[in-house]
Amino acid sequence: MSRPFNSHMRRRDFLRTSAAAGTMALAAPRLALAQGASDLTMHTWSAAVDTVQSHLNAFTASSGINVNYGNSPWAQYREGMVTKFVGGAPLDMMWVSDAWLPEWVEAGWIAPVDGFKNLTQYNSEAEEFCNDSMTYNGRQYGLTYYTDYMAFLYDEEKVKAAGFDAPPTTWDEVVEQSLVMKEKGISDYPMMLAMAQESWLIEFMSTLVFSHGGRFIDENGMSSMTSEKDGAMEALQWVVDAVSKHGIVSPACVETGELSGLKAFASGNHAFAMVAKYRLRMLNDPEQSQVAGNVQQTLMPKGGNGAHNTVGWMRFHGMSSQAAADPIRAEATAKLIEWFGGKSDGAYKFQKLLFLDIGAGFGVKPLFDDPEIKAAYNAYGDVEVIKAQQSLAMQKDVVTPWFGEWNETNGTAWQSAILGNTDVASAIAKSSDAWDELKEDY
């Protein structure tokens, strides 16, 4: 019988071959990196992949710059990006959520883009809350990818059945119309509010606060929630009264998430709803909604000190610090950001494509005058109302590095008050104290 591994020479040969293979494996990547040095790397979450790829191919054809495009699932995108940043993976441009901006800037992962005139030239045509949402410590970090806001929708048929000619314009009128609907048996809980502890909750709370003329924090970043006139007290008091005093909002709202609330509204259970504006299209689609054709948007009702404000959110194209460190790469990346977030071939092509393809809202005002966009919006809504409400959208004022920690406390405090476990003043005070403590700690 042969003994293949019993000879010293063969064992040495084996070790020698293994060492050579290992050396080659370690050397190979450097060759590969050198070969692809001029290419840019862009990473996004997996939305509108075909639309992005088609626009990217046009960019390469126009500029001669190759771009390696990668994408990963939305739900795990942030975690994946953090690993890529920490691990130093090649990365030039990426999509960023406004909620992550402070964290990514403080960690030194993304760089400001306000040094590039070809990017800042679009600020004058962008919605103010979009510019605000991309700005941190006075520096701008990108150009808009998509934006949307919280809208107030109503079922026109139910409003008319209750004997009203027009939808409510104030939160008091919401109560008034809802009570009539309850009395006439049109709806048990006419107003749909989704106040479950989930990522949407801060959007709902911000909308209620802003539309009542309040803010969570003042211009110095300190809590202003406890202020009777321009804090969060009035908004929370309205919700508490709506649930326990008037019975127009279900107590189960603290367990209702945005999607469940949307489905309930689509099934005809409610007359009024606060949902993301892009849901309007689905609600007026007969294949997906029982109230299709009846759902209209009106300006967000206002409180005593309010002015129909709502909350807006946005995602943007950002530049990595890695790219910014190399002037040639930074310039190429800025061109890529402009191609997507600004104009390409003289038009806001990508934002328009995104809207027409997947219904994603845009952050630049001139697109509201585009005939194709007007026609698309008017097919299921009123473009003038949509435009008017977008101009009243405000940036979330609580997006800070400690937002995540505070958000837990704040959500729980609001829910306790809604359920009657604590009074409004104590709930807001608890949330306010948590904010100031966290601000001190950071």
Partner: protein, 318 residues
């Protein structure tokens, strides 16, 4: 007197029979409950893959589709991937519409292929590395043998999440980002310790005399392993193959970190990418899910008769 002796004997037999029937009935009901609990999600997955989006969200749910459709499967199998994407031929699907098919549907079959290649390579390399290592640890006495076994086992105590960044740095420096080799390499690091541990336990249960007899007959170590030990270790090898295959097939975290294009993305990543920040097409995802469970089922069916004995291999040291 006869009556009083006879009566309890009859009652005793009836009671025994009743107890046996009750026990069997309880087992049957229990088995049915467990079977329904286990199979209901799979049944719903299959049923909903043939339903439209509107039917899936209907209340009460339709376990048998009222208006079955093959639209999702057609989208998966007819999606082309060759042509360069332009403004004209882009998918442009609206997720707000009821019949939404994600534009990444065309990546599903390539992702299945990537998953199959990765899982197969991991299984083969696992056996090539793990079997000789386990044999050496089980049958060759050397200094530090026990410490080596415990060290190998210890590597499995570290949670995967803690390994992500170190692995990422190694993979990046090797230039393997966005390559299926990054997955093969890291999955081996995860699966080989388990393979070695299971096989060491099994080989130790086989008598040393077999090894000695083979060596006396002129076998080299390798020949003793291949001709004597491997044929006796089939159940444990099956357990190892199944573990390595299923671990590689289902792994998500490392694949999420190391892959970024359809050239290397595996099935779990492409499936997760079907949920966007705008909407989720339950109907399409469930159709993709049905396809995703087919290969593991085939593997399980092929090795079915070895699975139970294989899974307990090494559990009791003889």
């Amino acid at each position: 007197m006869t009556d009083t002796i006879h009566k309890p004997a009859v009652d005793y037999r009836r009671r025994q029979k009743l107890a046996r029937i009750s026990r069997n009935l309880a087992i049957l009901i229990g088995a049915l409950v467990v079977a329904i609990y286990v199979l209901a999600p799979v049944a719903w997955l299959v049923s909903s893959s043939f339903q439209t989006e509107a039917e899936i969200v209907s209340v009460p749910p339709h376990w048998i589709p009222e208006d079955p459709t093959l639209r999702n499967f057609e989208a998966i199998f007819t999606a082309g991937n060759e042509e360069e994407i332009t403004y004209e031929n882009r998918s442009g699907q609206d997720p707000a519409s009821g019949g939404y098919i994600p534009s990444t549907a065309k990546n599903l079959l390539p992702a299945m292929w990537n998953s199959t290649v990765v899982a197969t390579l991991v299984v083969i390399l696992n056996l090539l590395v793990g079997v000789p290592a386990a044999y050496a640890l089980a049958k060759i006495r050397f200094m530090g043998r026990d410490a080596s076994i415990y060290f190998i086992l210890m590597t499995r105590v570290i949670p995967d999440i803690a390994l992500v960044v170190p692995f990422f740095l190694v993979i990046k420096n090797l230039g393997m980002l966005d390559s299926i080799w990054s997955l093969v390499l890291t999955y081996l690091a995860v699966t080989v310790p388990f393979t070695v541990f299971i096989l060491v336990q099994y080989f130790e249960g086989l008598p040393d005399e077999l090894d000695k007899a083979a060596r006396v007959d002129g076998c080299s170590r390798i020949q003793a392993l291949v001709r004597v030990f491997l044929p006796l270790s089939l159940p444990s090898l099956v357990a190892v193959v199944l573990f390595a295959f299923l671990t590689s097939w289902n792994e998500f975290l490392l694949a999420l970190m190391f892959t970024q294009t359809s050239a290397s993305q595996t099935l779990p990543i492409v499936l997760a990418a079907f949920t966007s920040d705008f909407t989720i097409s339950f109907s399409f995802i469930n159709a993709a899910g049905v396809l995703a469970i087919v290969p593991p089922i085939i593997v399980a069916v092929i090795f079915e008769r070895y699975i139970v004995s294989g899974l307990t291999a090494g559990a009791v040291k003889g």
